[in-house]
Amino acid sequence: MFSTDKQMGYQCFVSFFDLRDPSQIENNEPYMKIPCSDSKITSAVWGPLGEFIIAGHENGELNQFSAKSGEQLSNIKEHTKQINDIQTSRDMTMFITASKDNTAKLFDCTSLKHLKTFRTERPVNSAALSPIFDHVVLGGGQEAMDVTTTSTRIGKFEARFFHLAFEEEFGRVKGHFGPINSVAFHPDGKSYSSGGEDGYVRIHYFDPQYFEFEFEA
């Protein structure tokens, strides 16, 4: 599955290929194409069991498209600006969106029910869920095009850790000198990586205290 950009008179399409049929790739003939006329898709992931995809749009909408029929299963609009990234939890029951509207939001995969919101002061480019804790890491910062006019301090190019249930920030990791474009947890949850506009991928291992740290409740 991939989507094409709306450009030069071309429409935005989501294309579906079945890898079991090599001819589809060879001939570049997806078995299904879903056109998106109003707002282009900026990010998408497969839903649980590969039954549908969850697509985030430029205008902040979220859609579920069936992978079989291509029909739109549900639609919500929780974000006000472009959705930059969608990542699912390890068990694919929930996913987190990162949006240009300075927030990241947690949703249920099947129902698209909005669960949590994580607020920052800068556009969020990427968000990832920890596989072992109720933690989420957000990466972002001032947009790349504005960065030259600001210092790194104002840009806030920090990876920020939030608690999933309390929506409270509990940690920040500095280091990038450009906005963070992508963050990901290691599958074992013991480290995470971030890739920035500055051209660096930074791999951070958590301190032992991270694993001992417990939220008070």
Binding site: L49, T93, M94, T110, L115, A165, F166, D188, A217
Partner: protein, 891 residues
């Protein structure tokens, strides 16, 4: 005057040497016992004072009453010498020129008349006296009695019994008895009507000061049930008469917007501020505490003359000046208020930040107490002045936690005042014979005080509720030498340190009497200490306390815990400590034991939750230790006031990690800006916690639901993935293949610092990798073990993640690279692989065939990498560890 002016300046720096808690320190300079009294007041700020001065000035004027002009001299010797002199001189003059004395003729008829008969000095008949009296005796006439003279000495007494002439004499006797206490009555007048007195009388004293005294003390005197005297100065009647009947609305003071005085709490990074005095007091700066380096906010030369103080909630910064106190605040540290108190030395804020108490040894006078002044901070008005009679430790006035009451102790009395009236609570002090010390609870309006033994009466520690004055607990103690009262910061516990000399012994034994304030009847438990006590401190917000005990070379610290059932448990004792002071973190749990001054600044950072010594450090010759208000950082400093070299302050984390060393020229004092208590009420905090709990609960519920759904889908998932369970990382263990890989590593000797060991490593040519679990292209998540490390090598070598190892392979005594290419190169399209070249088995010739530039370059790179890895393995093996620090028994 010069001397007295200098004394506060000289006394202040040593006083300021101590930390902010100076008032609590016994070595702080105590206010002098006998402040200079009766000094001529110099400041005109009090009406009363002005009045007083007028009175004082008047007393030098002739005190002759107008009613007795025929009396040339005052009846008593109380006349001031200034006036006594010109009068004798005036007599011969008057005699020489009788004309001039014509007006006085009545006064001195006999004297001048006699010489007139013998020698004629008389003027010719037609003589016209054209010299006025003014010209001749101007200086004497000035002192001429005036009608209004002495009017200041007259008082009017109302509500005097109305009596007939028969009892008038008796009444006069009574009145005389009452009013002659204040001075000699030289004239009295009982107006009469219809044969009875009118019920009010006039009395005249020798001097106006007596009259003032009489008004002050006799007003409100109860003669009997029906008659309560109202005494007023005669001159006051004029004043009262001229008061207009209409009340004028006082002009409204324009509201001065001072900005947000608590702006510093809104710092997005939650940093704290602190003030620093350096250059021996000439410069004062305010900094943000930042991890990297302090960020300066404000820097002023000669901001204060001695030291500075923050108000208890951090709103104001007080600076000391010869002429008084100035308060600063807001974002730009503008001046907010000034309090004029000449020679001020010590100040104290009320806990509510509403009142300021200042002390100056200069200003006191008998009538107008000014040694201690209480000010209203918001309006800047003086609320009340006090004398300072005894040399108690500062603060002389102790405030209750909410600022509603303040109290002071004098011998045998405890005076409790209330705000805002500043009057005595219930109009009377508490009489407590022999009271030695008292202290307010920081958690309620309870006062604790103790009195020593008096013959057969044992020593007592009393807890008294206010304002009801109800004694809630009295504890009797025997053979007491001394007591010290220590409140826990919340007022949950009170510890009384009791030094006793038990009967028949010589030495002093110390007991801690722990009062549990929050329980019914306030139960008391006792901890006996065998050794002498150096320091005691409660954990703020907790139920632990720390004690330093022992003799100098063998000092121990013990931590105790007061359990809910009242049992006091020793948690831990650390022996051989270099410490003489205990500094608890404001949040509790963490404590720093410091050996200040004589102990060279040894520091021990202790976590009392499990009683571990987190760090032991030293700040040589450190004189002060200051926790930040949040308990995140701690500052140790060497003050110029105590030590003239190496003046600096160091910033540490609460765990004892040194963050910054800030050297400042002649650094004097660092004070953290306090933070106000949380604005949330207890209920609100509870609600917050509750909300968090429900949030977590809801989230858990959702997760449970999601997990269930996930489990339900398990079968479908298995089906989709061809029966392979991907839920668990180590599922399908049985399908995994175990391989032993051995391969030759190129010998390449890199010279290291230790050539011997290198050689021994290099001699070992084979590295044995035990096993490789590779399954379906998923990187084993536990890749920090040795297997993971091997993966890394493979990844480096082939620039891709190994997908699978198709079959067991044995490293030949040949080239490693070809093997690797064969095993893992298959998944990398852009690399020349055996298969593409058509070769089936790795052979020496094949390698030669694939002779491309890229290949050679890569090969060299790999060799280098491998050699490096080899070295690492060898080195770590020597240390008995696997490269990643994990256990690996297979090597």
């Amino acid at each position: 005057m010069q001397d007295t002016e200098e004394s506060p300046a000289a006394a202040a720096p040593p006083g300021a040497q101590g930390p902010a808690e100076q008032p609590e320190r016994p070595d702080a300079p105590a206010p002098p016992a006998e402040p200079p009294q009766l000094q001529p007041p110099e400041q005109e700020e009090d009406e009363k004072e002005d009045e007083e001065r007028e009175g004082g000035g008047e007393s030098q004027a002739p005190p002759e009453p107008p009613e007795e002009p025929e009396q040339p001299r005052p009846p008593s010797g109380r006349q001031s010498p200034a006036q006594a002199e010109p009068q004798p001189g005036s007599e011969p003059e008057a005699g020489a020129e009788p004309g001039a004395a014509q007006e006085d003729g009545e006064a001195a008829p006999a004297g001048p008349a006699e010489p007139e008969d013998e020698i004629s000095f008389s003027d010719p008949e037609d003589f016209v006296d054209d010299i006025s009296d003014e010209e001749l005796l101007g200086d004497i006439l000035k002192d001429q009695p005036q009608e209004a003279d002495g009017i200041d000495s007259v008082i009017v007494v109302d509500n005097v019994p109305q009596v007939g002439p028969d009892r008038l004499e008796k009444l006069k006797n009574v009145i005389h008895k009452i009013f002659s206490k204040f001075g000699k009555i030289i004239n009295e007048f009982y107006p009469e009507a219809d044969g009875k007195t009118k019920g009010y009388i006039f009395l005249e004293y020798m001097s106006p000061s007596h009259a003032v005294d009489a008004v002050k003390n006799a007003d409100g005197y109860k003669l009997d049930k029906q008659h309560t005297f109202r005494v007023n100065l005669f001159t006051d009647f004029d004043k009262y008469m001229t008061i207009s009947d209409e009340w004028e609305i006082p002009e409204k003071q324009p509201f001065k917007d001072l900005g947000n005085l608590r702006y510093w709490l809104e710092d997005p990074d939650c940093r704290d501020q602190y003030s620093v005095i350096f250059e021996s007091g000439d410069r004062t700066s305010i900094f943000w505490n930042d991890i990297k380096e302090p960020v300066q906010i404000e820097d002023r030369a000669r901001w204060t003359e001695t030291y500075v103080r923050w108000s208890p909630k951090g709103t104001y910064l007080a600076t000391f000046h010869q002429r008084g106190i100035a308060l600063w605040g807001g974002e730009k540290f503008k001046q907010i208020q000034r309090f004029s108190h000449q020679g001020v030395q010590l100040i104290d804020f009320s806990p509510c930040e509403r009142y300021l108490v200042t002390f100056s040894p200069l200003m006191d006078t008998q009538d107008d107490p000014q040694a201690i002044i209480i000010w209203d901070i918001l309006t800047g008005q003086k609320k009340r002045g006090f004398h300072c009679e005894n040399s108690a430790h500062w603060p002389i006035f102790k405030w209750s936690h909410d600022g509603k009451f303040f109290a002071r102790m004098t011998s045998d009395t405890l005076s409790i005042y209330e705000t805002p009236s500043m009057g005595l609570l219930d109009k009377k002090s508490l009489k407590i014979n022999g009271i030695r010390d008292f202290s307010w609870s920081p958690g309620g309006n309870i006062i604790a005080f103790w009195v020593p033994e008096d013959k057969d009466i044992p020593a007592r520690v009393t807890l008294m509720q206010l304002p009801s004055r109800q004694e809630i607990r009295v504890r009797n103690l025997f053979n007491v030498v001394d007591c010290k009262l220590h409140w826990q910061k919340n007022g949950d516990y009170l510890c009384v340190k009791v030094d006793r000399t038990p009967k028949g012994t010589q030495g002093v034994v110390t007991n801690f009497e722990i009062f549990r304030m929050r329980e019914k009847q306030v139960p008391v438990d006792v901890v006996e200490m065998k050794e002498s006590i150096i320091a005691f401190a409660w954990e703020p917000n907790g139920s632990k306390f720390a004690v330093l005990h022992g003799e100098t070379p063998r000092i121990s610290v013990s931590f105790y815990h007061v359990k809910n059932n009242g049992k006091i448990e020793l948690i831990k004792t650390f022996d051989k400590q270099q410490a003489n002071t205990i500094f608890w973190s404001p949040q509790g749990q963490f404590v720093v034991l410091a050996g200040l001054r004589s102990m060279n600044g040894a520091l021990a950072f202790v976590d009392t939750s499990d009683c571990t010594m987190m760090n032991i450090a030293e700040h040589y010759t450190a004189s002060d230790v200051e926790w930040d208000p949040t308990g995140r950082y701690i500052v140790t400093s060497v003050s110029w006031w105590s030590h003239k070299v190496d003046n600096a302050y160091w910033l540490w984390t609460f765990q004892g990690r040194l963050l910054q060393k800030n050297n400042k020229d002649r650094f004097c004092q660092l004070l953290w800006r306090p933070r106000p208590a949380t604005l949330l009420s207890e209920d609100q905090i509870k609600e917050l916690v509750e909300r968090r709990r429900t949030m977590m609960e809801e989230f858990r519920k959702y997760r449970k639901m999601a997990q269930e759904l996930y489990m339900e889908q398990r079968n479908e998932r298995l089906e989709l993935r061809g029966g392979v369970d991907t839920d668990e990382l180590d599922s399908n263990v049985d399908d995994w293949e175990e391989e032993t890989v051995e391969f030759f590593i190129n010998e390449e000797i890199i010279t290291l610092a230790e050539p011997d060991s290198t050689r021994s490593c290099a001699e070992k040519k084979f590295v044995c990798f035990p096993t490789a679990y590779i399954n379906f292209g998923i990187l084993n998540p536990y890749s920090c073990t040795l297997e993971g490390w091997m993966h890394q090598i493979f990844s480096i070598l082939t620039h891709c993640i190994p997908v699978s190892l198709p079959k067991p392979f044995q490293a030949q005594d040949g080239d490693l690279y070809s093997e690797l290419l064969e095993t893992s190169g298959a998944c990398r399209d852009d690399m020349p692989s055996k298969e593409e070249k058509g070769g089936n088995t790795p052979k020496e010739e094949d390698r030669d065939v694939m002779d491309s530039q890229e290949f050679t370059a890569m090969r060299e790179e790999i060799n280098l990498l491998l050699a490096e890895q080899h070295r690492m393995v060898a080195l770590s093996m020597r240390r008995g560890r696997s490269p990643q620090g994990c256990q690996s028994g297979s090597l």
